[in-house]
Assembly symmetry: C3
Homo-oligomer: 310 residues x 3
């Protein structure tokens, strides 16, 4: 199996071997980031962002441009004007006529899948509702592999909003492709993982525990993956304030962690990680962000050219 | 005569031979879309969109980038801030200093012509008020030629708003460069073609008939070109609803059409063509949209490099 | 000393030799603007515009693209959404991960300096509050040098708002690196230069005079640099109207100027220069705008590649 001309809608579209191949190409491109600079010459990528996400948009643009490819984009503001009357289906047909690959961000679950059914050009899901964000998950898994050489056998904690954050949803499905020792799900009671994810973990035989106090388990963890808790998830502002205070990573919390322990975060960070933590050896979130470019470079290369080229 | 370093403001700027040349280069570039990928290296195109049009903007960008050229753009939102105090003339002078070719979209008739008078760099009109949209007309004419091998001798219907739609205006002037057998102008009584277009058709000796019921003439047509009817053209909402219902293409309407008959539409389509029509062999509007890139590639090549290069 | 991998935050970061070197490279690139078209292939520039400035954004984009480099941008609209919760520091860290050089525009003084401290990639200040706009100053100095062959020994007038305009602030510091014969500071009494600039001119031994009537001194000037006066600087609208009328360049004002005299303006111009002046040989502001591209091309080349390459 190969990724050539395939869509990437869910992290579950990928096998363990596919992910290994993407990581190999990522390593190749990182060794010499200028090496790939003519690979995608003449190819055009469309960033179809029906929902704003400057960070994700810029990371796809930077990746495509570093490979010598070109980018056309529209933002959510223009998407509104496109949407005025025109169907999503017609919009995707137009973009298909204009480009070689389409990156879709949309607030509704399933939008990227629908786009992939319409478009001849491959479609990459850059986030659909609270559902999937597979390229973020690839970055997350790659970060863990670069640190520990593996995912199997690790203790991995997810900390914060596990119910609405698509990053958590997508990462848990990604981890289930591997064999972590145990997953620790640490969240306020109202923001626990959804039933379908619980079912998936059980089906795959992944051991997991649910907690609401991170300090009880932090010394067992190899990785703590922090997720923002958004005010709008709470009807009671007081409840939000209380939760917010307890779901923060501070220096104090890090007293008894393992020596190799790392903290990850998909960014942007608001105040769920104290700035003072940035200076510790555990802070891995900026390194993780940096991997966003080579991972996407590898993915674009494999989808548009196949693996023979490299 | 040559297009080298010329402006393209109106479809009437082009002779029959110019159009033939553009179509030849379009065919050449379509045969191998990657062939042209270094042609415009080092050239910069400015998309000066004083009025929003994501579709047209993206098609010029994709065309320029596929030729190895570069694009700088500003959207209508920024145009408002530019306009704050600065004259259109000064803005165009700035863009002239920054780029090799300027694509202008503006809500006022004549804006592109004024820009062309100021700028040393060639200017392409991407739509000025209800006046002209010459690159859309080139796409339209090319679509007809690719289907029928000619424009001369065909029965061509325009259906919908013929008064305010610049696409209709521009296409009728384009058709008048050729010798269609007859043009059928099918519109509500309040949205008939303007006097200057009627005068032009008479002057060029083009036969035309005006109708308000498409079902009376559809079996005679080779091409039906559908145009959106906009609510804001009607003071009485009831009148709009009535008209809207009658100016739709449905499967039912297509029962007695010629075997080679095609339906065209500049897109975006709202509900003037039933989605069920998309699956018929008559639906040519997505193919038409696809021609938007190679036509613009040919035009940019001929204006920036001349014909000797190819 | 060399500019290689250096930040450019203030015009004072540059020595007289640095400026000479930038001008030499500018001349080289102007001789054959297509010569540099592969120089920055594979490099990515980020336009981080936290405050809108279409003109400056487009000039950096055009310069980078003409050198074969790539550009990713975000506008002030998106900056607001980025800013929602995320710190400026985190945003710059992300951009540092995504690009090879960062151009920062911000409404607060010192923002570019802060960005430079955080980012490993070089940072260019494209305007911070009322403080500095060093690339505009380079364009201004280059324009004078191209006309007169020198800056030393000239009589240079600055005319308009000298208190709030960062262009004036930055240019005066730039002139102080050279030895102009005399600087004439012509402004309404309420818009005189700030104390720190007055101190700097005194420190550097630059002779200057303050005036409020341009007609008294215009015949002595080699250069008149015109700056817009903004309505919002006046609490009394009547006061603004009075001042506005007196701080305009008209044909009438130009009767007794030197033969070699030139008028400059950073643009956009509102009505502080009569359009009739555009046709005179003194009008140098559009030529000045044109120099914006090659100056920035030279700067990007020297920062990203060093001087050995050319």
């Amino acid at each position: 199996m190969t990724l050539y001309k395939k869509d990437l809608i869910s992290i579950n579209d990928l096998s363990r071997d596919d992910i290994k191949k993407i990581f190999e190409v990522t390593d190749l491109l990182r060794e010499n980031i200028r090496k790939g600079r003519n690979l995608l010459k003449g190819f055009v990528l469309t960033n179809a962002f029906f929902e704003p996400s400057t960070r994700t948009r810029l990371s796809f643009e930077s990746a495509m441009l570093r490979l010598g490819g070109s980018v056309i984009s529209f933002s959510s503001v223009e998407a509104i004007s496109i949407a005025k009357g025109e169907s999503f289906v017609d919009t995707i047909r137009m973009l298909d006529a204009y480009s070689d690959i389409i990156v879709v961000r949309h607030k509704y679950e399933g939008a990227a899948k629908l786009a992939a059914e319409i478009s001849e050009a491959p479609v990459i899901n850059a986030g659909d509702g609270r559902n999937q964000h597979p390229t973020q998950t690839l970055v997350d898994l790659y970060t863990i592999v670069k640190k520990f050489g593996k995912i199997d056998g690790l203790n991995i904690g997810l900390f914060g909003d596990l119910k609405y954050a698509r990053t958590a949803n997508s990462l848990l499905q990604g981890l289930a492709i591997f064999n972590p020792s145990k997953i620790f799900l640490i969240s306020p009671p109202t923001l626990k993982i959804r039933k379908e994810i619980r079912d998936l973990l059980n089906l795959k035989g992944i051991k997991f525990e649910e907690h609401d106090d991170v300090s009880e388990v932090i010394s067992e963890l190899d990785v703590l993956y922090v997720l923002r808790i958004q005010r709008e998830r709470f009807s009671d502002p007081l409840e939000y304030e209380k939760v917010k205070g307890s779901y923060r990573v501070t220096l104090d919390l890090l007293k008894d962690v393992k020596d190799d322990f790392i903290i990850m975060h998909p960014l942007p960070r608001v105040d769920e990680i104290d700035y003072k933590v940035d200076g510790t050896k555990y802070a891995y979130y900026f390194k993780q962000a940096k991997y966003g470019i080579p991972i996407r470079m590898a993915l674009l290369t494999l989808i548009l050219l196949g693996e023979e080229v490299l």
